[in-house]
Symmetry: C2
Subunit: 340 residues, 2 copies
Amino acid sequence: MDGRGRRTTMYDVAAAAGVSHQTVSRVVNGSPQVRPETVERVRSAMTRLGYRPSGTARNLAVRRTRSLGVVSFMGPLFGPMSMLLSIEAAARRSGYAAQIVSAHGLDAGQVDAVLEEVLGRDVEGVAVIAPTDGQARMVDGLRAQLPVVAVEGRLGDDVPFVASDNEAGGRLVAEHLLDCGHRTVAHVSGPTDWGEARQRTAGWADRLVAAGVQPGPVWVGDWSPEAGYRAGLELLEHPRWEEVGAVFAANDSMALGLMAALHRSGVEVPARVSVIGYDNTPESGWLQPALSTVEQQFDAVGAAAVERLVSLLEGGDGAAELLIPPRLVSRSSVSWHRRR
Amino acid sequence: MDGRGRRTTMYDVAAAAGVSHQTVSRVVNGSPQVRPETVERVRSAMTRLGYRPSGTARNLAVRRTRSLGVVSFMGPLFGPMSMLLSIEAAARRSGYAAQIVSAHGLDAGQVDAVLEEVLGRDVEGVAVIAPTDGQARMVDGLRAQLPVVAVEGRLGDDVPFVASDNEAGGRLVAEHLLDCGHRTVAHVSGPTDWGEARQRTAGWADRLVAAGVQPGPVWVGDWSPEAGYRAGLELLEHPRWEEVGAVFAANDSMALGLMAALHRSGVEVPARVSVIGYDNTPESGWLQPALSTVEQQFDAVGAAAVERLVSLLEGGDGAAELLIPPRLVSRSSVSWHRRR
DNA sequence: AAATCAGATGTTAGCGGTAACCTCCTCGCT
DNA sequence: AGCGAGGAGGTTACCGCTAACATCTGATTT
C-alpha cells in the first residue's frame, strides 16, 4: 500500500526499477529471460516498495485457482478430523490450496449453503467427506459443475470414491476374535446411516458366518463413549450374556464407554470378556486394559483422494473406487477364550 | 463452460437475456434497481447456461477477498485441532473464508514457506495458532504486511492476543486440590517452550505457594500419553513419593498415561493418589476412574480471535489481550486426602 | 406543452496480473 | 560488409467482474 491506500502493483515496481511491468512479471515468475543485473534492480525495487503479487489477479489471468474444496459434514470426531488434515497436507504437497468448509448439521439448507460457499470460492474440484447417507442426493448439483471425489462415504456410483476398507476392517476383527477362540461375539455398531458403520458390521458378520459362527447380539450406538456405556449396561442384562466372550465396538470411543460399564459392574476385561475397538486413537494404547483396535491409514486415504482429484482436473478419468486396507493392532483387551 | 472450453461469463448471460452485463451483475448482487421481469429473464438465462459468477474476478474488482489465513503450527492434538475448527466456523459466521495452513514441523524453512503460502493467497488478515516460542520472531515479516492476531501463544507485545486463561486454569487445579485437603502435589507439565504449559504450571504453583504449600516434584512431558506413563513410573521411584497425595497432569493424554503407570504398579486412583488433567477431551469422563479436568472454551476463544481480527480489518484497533476463563470439571479421579 | 425527475439500463474504465506478439540490439558467420 | 539468430525487453490485449457515470424512458409537475 502507498500513502493513499492504493496497493503496490507491478507497475509501481516497474516504474521504480525503470523497466516494463512485464519484466517485473518475468522476475516474479523466475523467467530465465532476464539479465541478472535487471533481476537485481527489480528485486530491490520490490523489497523497497514492499511489493506482494496479487494472487487474485494472477488467478484471474491464468484462469486457474489451484485450490480444492474440502467439505466435511461432521464435528470433531477423530476420524473425520484426521481426514481433513491429511487432505489439506496432501493438497499442499500437490500445489493446491485446500478450501475447508465444515458443517456440523446436515439439514438440507445447511448442505446447500455449504455447497454454495465452496463453489463461490472458485475451487477447481471438491473432495466431500460425507460419511452419512442422505448427502448423496444433495451433492448432485455439485457434480454437474466440477470434478468431485467422495471420501469415506459413497456419493453415488458415478463418483470416484476413496476410503478405508471398513469391510476388511470388520473381517480383521472377526478373524482375530475367532483366532482367539471366541465363538459368541456381540457388537456395538455405529449409526446405521453411516456407510462406514454398516461396512464394519457387514465385514465382521460375514467373516463370522463364514466360520460357522452366529453373529451375537448387536447394539446401535452413535460413536460416543456414552453410547458404548449404555450398550454395555444392556449387554449385561441380555439373556445370552453368559455366552458372550467378546465385544466388537465400532470405534474406540464406544469401546471406552463399554469398558467403563463393564468395569463398573465388576466384569473384568479381558478376563471375563474381550473388547476390541476401531480407530486406534492416540489414547487407545494407554487405556486399562490397552485396547486392541483397527488402525486406518488416513494419510494414505487423503493422499489418494487428492491424487484422484488432481488427475481428474488434468483430464484423466478417476478410477471408480479405491479402498485402503486397515491393519489390526493387537493389544491386551482381547485374550484367549477359556471355555467355561 | 461452453463447448470449446470457454467459461460462461456475465456477457454470455447478458447476450442470452438481451441485457447488458451490468444488469446481470445487478441481478447477481440483488440490486433493487432492476425490474422484476428483467430479473426473471436474467435468472432464467443464468440457469439455462449454467452460469456461476467468478469469485476471483469479483475479488479483483472489489479489491477484497474476504478471507482470513489461519496458520497452525502443530499436529492433530486435541486443543489446536479444536481451535482450528472453531476459528473456521467463526470466520464463516462473519462472512469470511478461512484459509487453513498447518505445518507440523517448526524449522525456520517450514515456517517461512507456510507464511509465503498464506500471504500468497491474498488473505486480509491472519490468525496464528502458535503455542510454542520461537515462532514469534519468524512471524515478524507477516506483521508488517497485514493484521495479525495470535491465538493460544503470544507473538510479541504488540500483537493482539486471544487465549484460554491457562494461569487461571492452573490456579483452579491447585485450588481444587487444596480444597480436597492435598498438601503435596506433583506435576507433569507440558513442554517448557509452550507458553500454555508454562502458564498452567505457573498458575498452579502460585496458588499453592499462596496457600503456604510447597509445589511438589515436577516432570516435563510432551503432551503424549507415553510421557505421562514415564513420568508415572519415575514418580513411583521418587524419594518423596510417600508424601505425594495428588498429581496434576497438564493435559488429559498425559493424565491417561500417568494413570496407566499407576494402575500397572498397583497404585489406586484416587484412593492412594488423586489425578487431575486438563482439556476435558470427550473421552475423559469415561476413563477409569472418570478424570477430573479443566475445560477450555475453544469456541469462545475462536470467536473472539476472529472478532478481533475483523475489527482490525475494519480499522478498529485490537485490544491488546483477551483471556477466556476455563472451568473446572470435577469427576472421580480426585478424592479427599486422608492423612496417613 | 415544456421542464423535471426518478427508475431502469447501458457504457466505459479500471482491478493486477499473464500471454502473445513485436522490436531492438548484439554477436557470429559467410 | 551483410545477414540471420537469439537474447532481452516492451506493447497490447485480454481474464471476468464492479464502480461510476451517462443515457433513455415515461410519468409528473407547472
